[in-house]
Structures are given as C-alpha cells and as structure tokens.
C-alpha cells in the first residue's frame, strides 16, 4: 500500500489543483505512468506514479485544490485487499501524517542541489515536513539522508513560507502563470547580479549545411536550426562547467550532466522552460525529437514533473521575425542562460573581404557570484567554433 501524493514540482509550487484523473479506481498503474493532471501556476502538468499496483481509493476529486504532500490516492501493491472506501476528508493514517490543510503551506521544492544525492526516505520525509529540498545541506559524503532532513527540521531556516495562490480554475490560468513568472524573475533580478556578454555569430555555415541536409531528409526527419543551436549550446556548456549547475545555500555545485532548459513560449503569453536531459549526449535527430515533443506538450499544456525541475542551464531562442538581441534573465537556482536573437543578414568583413552573411547575436546572462564575463566569452568562443562545423554536431 502506498500513498500517491500531490507532488512538489518546483520551488514556487505550494498547492495544486487536480484537474484530471487519467486512471480510474481499480485500474492497474505502472511505475512511470502519468495518472493524473494537476494545474499549477505554470499550467497543467501530468504527474507520474512511482509505484506499480492498483489505483485504489481516490481521495481528492477533480477540481479540488490541495497543498503539496496531500494524499491524492492510494496505490495498492502486491496482494493487499482493496481499501475500504473512504471519504475524501478521512484523516491520514497516524504513521504517515499528511500535511495539515492550512491556509499557509510551506514552499517545497523537489529539486535537490545539483550533485547532491538524496535518499528516497529523506525525500519523502522532507516532503512530509514541507522542507525545501534545495535548502537541505548534504552530509560530508554528499548525501542527504534522514539525518540531514531531521537536522534541517530543527533549523527553521530551511523552510520558507509563501503566500497562498489564488483560486484556480481548470485549464491554463494565464494570470497564475504570469504571477509565477513574476515571482521567479523578480527573485532572480533581485538576488542575482547578472552580467551579459554577447557575440555576433556567423550562422551561414550552419544554415547552408542544414538546407542541404533537409533537402535530402524526408519531411518528418527534417531538422529545425534550433536543434543545432541546442546541441552546440549543450556541448559548449559542458566545456565551461562554471555556467552549468545550481547555486544553493551560497554554494555553487556544478553539474556533470547538461540538462538544458528550453524556454518555450505559450500561445497567449507566458513561458515555460522544461529540460532536455543530457542534451550534450544526444544526436541531432534525438534533440529534434525531444524538442518537437516538448513544444507540442507545452502548447498542449502537458508536461512531466521531472522535466520541470532538472534543468542545469537554460536556452532561449527568440525565433524568426522577432528582435535582434535577447538579454535573458537567469532562472534560479541555475547560474546561466543563453539567449539567441533572430537570424539577420548582415554585412560581414572577413580577411579584408566584405560580404553578406546570415548572423545571430547570442547573449549569455551569467550569475556574477559564480562566474565572470570571461567564462561567458569562453563559452561563446566554443559555441562559435561548433557552429562553424555543423556536420560534426
């Protein structure tokens, strides 16, 4: 028997509204299945079950808004007998206290500091206690266990209270999303001393290669230039670790993996930056597949929780018919963001020859507490180099 709870999907999520049960009581569910959809400030997110068994005893009905950690349903595993039907208001079992449905709930993050390992028991205990995982300090061995959680509980600094969100209604609530973006960006701009470093990059070789490549690819296999930029950005980040990771508790933890957040605009406003995991290791076709999938799901309002929390840096591309440069704002706890302006044909002087080239201004926004402009310049150098040889990506 296990409890399926309202998950915490971000540092700024404290409550969620259940908008859909994708499985019914008695249905078999498998670990990894998305079984419910929850509306947050950021939109409707499908939530996964981490247990295999039978969905039993749904405790929160569609439309109900509940704090993070609330038991949504019970998953029956093994040969247990079905639970007696319970009413939604049934108090949680004493052994596993569910969080009180209080007007003010604590902000809880399921993101752990990059590089830190957290044990399953510690993660669950922290959620029960409404502790922000980002605020937990790992032991000397880099592990957050029950011991560290209990220690943090004693130190109240680990929790942060947030005002309760406004009442939700089904669908994507743009005002909620605006609020969430506002909160995150205000915090970022207030706390992070940004610096910006730009380069104009000759993207003619990239586009010429892409045109040749797409001419020989079948339509479903064609690549968008964003896929090349993403792959090149991920590789360049890998080469400049000081831009890739999380800064938590005044400590920067670089990440050995590059989970590149992709800023995707919602129609009607708003922005979500789910991650392509291990973007540096994917080939272009895979990057394209992931990108397609993310765009479709963002615009369809369906994201998975793990995609929302994993990013180690973010990539933002303004796109065609937009503006020349983008000076992006960092999404904490990340420490860098890469912004691409539109592709513009410019006069280009090289080796004393003047010609026209398609070019793009790429800007790195960096956290000055963690890195300096020189690091961003190094990144741009790598990126430029990579884009001159698109066939190698």
């Amino acid at each position: 028997m296990s409890e399926f709870r309202m998950p915490s999907l971000g540092a700024d999520m404290d409550v969620g509204t259940l908008v859909e049960w994708m499985k019914h009581p008695g249905d078999h569910v498998t670990r990894g299945d998305a079984i419910a959809a929850v509306e947050t400030q950021k939109g409707v997110i499908e939530i996964e079950v981490f247990e295999t068994g039978i969905l039993d005893d749904i405790r929160v009905q569609v439309g109900q808004r509940v704090p993070v950690g609330t038991v949504l349903a019970v998953i029956r595993t093994g040969n247990e007998a079905p639970a007696a039907q319970t009413v939604a208001e049934k108090p949680a079992a004493a052994a596993r206290p569910t969080p009180p449905v209080a007007p003010v709930a604590a902000a809880v993050s399921s993101v752990t500091p990059a590089g830190a390992k957290i044990t399953p028991a510690a993660r669950r205990r922290a959620l029960e206690l409404h502790l922000d995982l980002l605020a937990l300090r790992a032991g000397a061995d880099g592990v957050i266990g029950l011991r560290e959680v209990e220690a943090s509980r004693a130190a109240p600094a680990a929790t942060a209270s947030r005002p309760p969100g406004a009442a939700a209604k089904p669908g994507i609530d743009m005002s909620e999303m605006r609020k969430a973006i506002a909160a995150a960006m205000a915090k970022s701009w207030r706390e992070i001393p940004h610096y910006f470093v730009s380069s104009t990059i000759d993207v003619e070789p990239m586009l010429a290669w892409l045109e040749r490549e797409n001419a020989r690819r079948s339509m479903p296999e064609r690549l968008h230039y964003a896929a090349l930029l993403i792959k090149a950005t991920a590789l360049a980040l890998k080469a400049v670790p000081v831009l890739n990771g999380h800064r938590v508790n005044d400590v920067f933890a670089p990440s050995s993996q590059v989970h590149l957040g992709i800023a995707i605009a919602m129609r009607g406003g708003g922005l979500i930056a789910p991650a392509i995991l291990d973007a540096d290791t994917l080939d272009l076709a895979d990057v394209m597949t992931h990108l397609d999938d993310l765009v479709v799901r963002v615009r369809g309002g369906r994201l998975r929780s793990s995609e929302m929390t994993a990013a180690t840096a973010t990539f933002s591309n303004l796109g065609e018919d937009t503006a020349d440069t983008l000076q992006p704002v960092i999404y904490p706890p990340q420490v860098a963001i890469v912004g691409c302006g539109r592709i513009v044909e410019r006069a280009w002087a090289e080796h004393a020859v003047l010609s026209t080239r398609r070019t793009m201004v790429v800007t790195v926004g960096g956290d000055h507490r963690v890195s300096d402009g020189r690091a961003a310049a190094r990144f741009l150098g790598h990126l430029n180099e990579l884009l001159q040889h698109p066939e190698r990506l």
Binding site: E211, N214, A215, S218, M219, P220, R222, H224, A226, A265, R267, G268, L291, D292, V295, V296, R299, G300, G319, E320, D321
Partner: protein, 88 residues
C-alpha cells in the same frame, strides 16, 4: 478532391499543431505567423502534418508557399495535378 476538401486538410494540419486556433477566425490571405503566435517550430510541425495528411512532399524552399491558407490550397492543388493524382 475540390478546393474545399484541400482547405479542410490544411486546416486539419493547422489545428493539430495548435488546437486553440480552431475557435479563431482565419484570414486566408495572411501568414499564420502574422495572425497568431505561430513560430517556426509550429510551422515545421504544420508542414510535416500536412505532408502526413496529403502525402505531398514539400521541400524547404517551398515552405514560403504554404504560409497562408490560400497559398497552401493552391500549392496542394498544383502538386496533385503534377503527380497526376485523381480522386482514387
């Protein structure tokens, strides 16, 4: 297959990419990206979906020709004739 059928196919491709557009008025002469928030990724999805629905291959160099509803219908018509395709 007449123009109305072709238009239905173009609209189907469009709405599969952006279901929220279904309730919006669509000007057949304006580029989608000028009427809606429709970026190049959306456009790529649209072109791919149109290919899937019609079987017609659209080279990148022809993308410009299917950027409006009217243009897309005309393009499909031309390609179908070129292919010698009937209503079979």
């Amino acid at each position: 297959m007449n123009d109305a059928d072709l238009e239905r196919q173009v609209r189907a491709a469009l709405y599969s990419v952006a279901p929220d557009l279904e309730s919006e008025p669509l000007d057949p002469d304006r580029r989608y990206r000028d009427q809606f928030e429709f970026d190049s990724m959306d456009f790529l999805h649209f072109a791919t979906e149109l290919h899937r629905l019609t079987g017609i291959d659209i080279p990148e160099s022809d993308y410009r020709r299917v950027e409006t509803l009217k243009g897309a219908v005309a393009y499909l018509k031309e390609k179908r004739i070129a292919k010698g395709g009937g209503d079979a």
